[in-house]
Amino acid sequence: MKISRETLQAALCKRGPVWVPSDAGRWTAVQALPELGPIRPRRPVKDLFTPPRREIARWKAGAGPAEIQPAKPDETPGSVFGVRPCDARALLLLDRTFLQAPYVDPHYKARRDNLLLIGVACQPGPTCYCGVFGFGPDDKDAVDVMLTPEADGFVAQSGSPRGQAFLATVEAGAAVPVAAPRPGPKPEWWTGLPDPKALYANFDHPMWRELGTSCMNCGVCTQYCPTCQCFTVDDESFKGEIQRLRIVDNCQRSDFTRMAGGHNPRQVAASRLRQRVMHKFSYIPTQNPGLVGCTGCGRCVDLCPLDRHLFADVFEIMKRINQEAERVA
């Protein structure tokens, strides 16, 4: 159905805070729906669900044990406007980590339960490759409502029962035929997803070392990746005020796996690069058939200071492995 910008805005504002990507690409709560850029914002939407700095508890130094105050999950109903399918799909992967019993993250769950995901179809950029993973820029499977911008508003489709219920509450515009889903972009060199088992079987391949020489382990790719969720737990304190925090961390840092005694299983740069590739393209798909730890948003390609294309690298590895296998055969 058709829905005007004003109607949508009113309905969303009535529900609660509306989170949108700001001009700087960060998610902020606003009162009026902004004009979105053509492509995904710089920060993935995971920031709202698993923020880089999340309080677990706080207390005063020297206070009794009863005074440890656990942070309260934010249960304010609201909505996120402008979610792109790649980011929304990534949330399905994060759900697997944070909503899996017995260790459910109440903060993540509260946000997931209370924020309505309003997707907006995007215009893929040159580094996007969501098509590789079988969906496109207007995919509605992981959002509650998917909007396709039109001259004077949007064409809305529901992607979930929650989305359907929401659309039922807004003043319905004219019913319009829904266009067929657009295919997502794929790199021209793409011929198929790497086989997770073949990748894992080549854990000790010399290729990793070679790839390691052109990576500086800056970790920008992980920080902006919509599916990366690694964190650390630490305290910060100032003049007797102490916060226990869950802080974003990333597997590219040499400190990530270094133990207090000094032993570090992933000491060299290449092993950390391998960890990232393996986690996304081998470990996750092996343990969750049908899922891949990447949604093709292309942020890592855009932001890499060394202009690397991780996916192209994986592809190159697989090509070489296959060639070697053929030669042996």
């Binding site: 700087a24 960060r26 710089r42 880089p52 700095r53 790199p187 060199w189 070679e210 020489t213 052109s214 500086m216 382990n217 800056c218 970790g219 920008v220 920080q223 902006y224 650390t232 630490d234 910060e236 925090l245 802080i247 990333n250 840092r253 040499s254 400190d255 390609v301 932001l303 200071p305 060394l306 202009d307 690397r308 294309h309 192209a312 592809f315 190159e316």
Partner: protein, 285 residues
């Protein structure tokens, strides 16, 4: 250019002067220019140099590479390699500098980078081999003084405000540190936790702390390659602060980083004539 570069590299291999070469190649799939390490002369044919070669490869140098290692250097990269040799990271004979005549690079693919507009060093001062036409290189369009003039003109309160705003988007990802050819500490101050000098999460105090320490550590060492700023996913203009301090170091110690081989970093030496006036009163405004 590419042909000359490849010939030069093959020549170095043939003469046994290098065991490996760090250079640029075009990724066969993504078509982006990426760093590459070649260890066989025949791979020299993958090497390229053009205005897409924005990275500073000096960061990739390591004693674990097959030495001596050749490295394709632009002007700024060469200064960085030179500084690393000065600091004792490498012996001079472990490095073969393949200097390319660099008219400047275009990170966005269209316009000359800001850092290149004020470049006075289009050819590396450290050069074992020089490739390309060094006679036809552009003159700087801008000066460092012009770049930092706006900061100079501010009052202290305005400056503080300016940097607070500039550092605000910092997420402490430390990409600026990872790409910096001279960030060579074994354990970075950000990773020390006993005591913890810089808190891990982003907030006004830790942002300022990190960028001040970063700038201070680079005083007299920064080679103005501007990689920190280019790598920053949030576009924090941290390199501006490096430039401010570079001006001071030149004024105080008459030291220009990485231009001259040998010598010492100004903090590792002193002159009994160093004036006491350095330590008193406001020095500007």
């Amino acid at each position: 250019m590419n042909q000359a570069l490849r010939e030069a590299v093959k020549h170095l291999f043939a003469e046994g002067k290098v065991k490996s070469v760090l250079g640029y190649r075009e990724h066969p799939l993504s078509k982006a220019v990426v760093a590459t390490l070649i260890t066989r002369p025949e791979d020299a044919d993958t090497l390229i140099f053009d205005d897409r070669c924005v990275q500073n490869l000096a960061r990739g140098l390591s004693r674990d590479l097959p030495l001596p290692v050749g490295i394709v250097v632009k002007g700024c990269d060469g200064r960085a390699v030179s500084m690393r040799i000065t600091e004792g990271d490498f012996a001079r004979e472990q490095i073969v500098a393949i200097a390319v005549a660099c008219p400047g690079v275009k990170a966005d693919g269209k316009n000359l980078d800001e850092r290149c507009q004020r470049c006075e060093m289009h050819v590396s001062p450290l050069a074992d081999v020089t490739v390309g036409d060094v006679s036809a290189l552009p003159k700087p369009e801008k000066t460092r003084a012009e770049t930092i003039a706006k900061i100079k003109a501010m009052t202290p309160a305005e400056r503080f405000e300016f940097w607070q705003k500039a550092f605000e988007p910092c997420t402490h990802c430390y990409a600026c540190r990872e790409v910096c050819p001279l960030c060579s500490c074994t354990v970075c101050v950000t990773d020390q936790n006993s005591p913890r000098w810089i808190e891990q999460t982003a907030k006004p105090s830790s942002n300022l702390m990190w960028h001040m320490i970063r700038a201070f550590h680079h005083a007299g060492r920064c080679v103005d390659c501007g990689e920190c700023q280019r790598a920053c996913p949030e576009g924090v203009p941290m390199h501006l602060l490096d430039l401010c301090l570079a001006e001071d170091v030149e004024e105080l110690f008459d030291f220009k980083t990485g231009i001259k081989q040998g010598g010492k970093w100004p903090f590792l030496m002193f002159d009994p004539q160093d004036p006491d006036s350095w330590l008193g009163g406001p020095h500007r405004g």
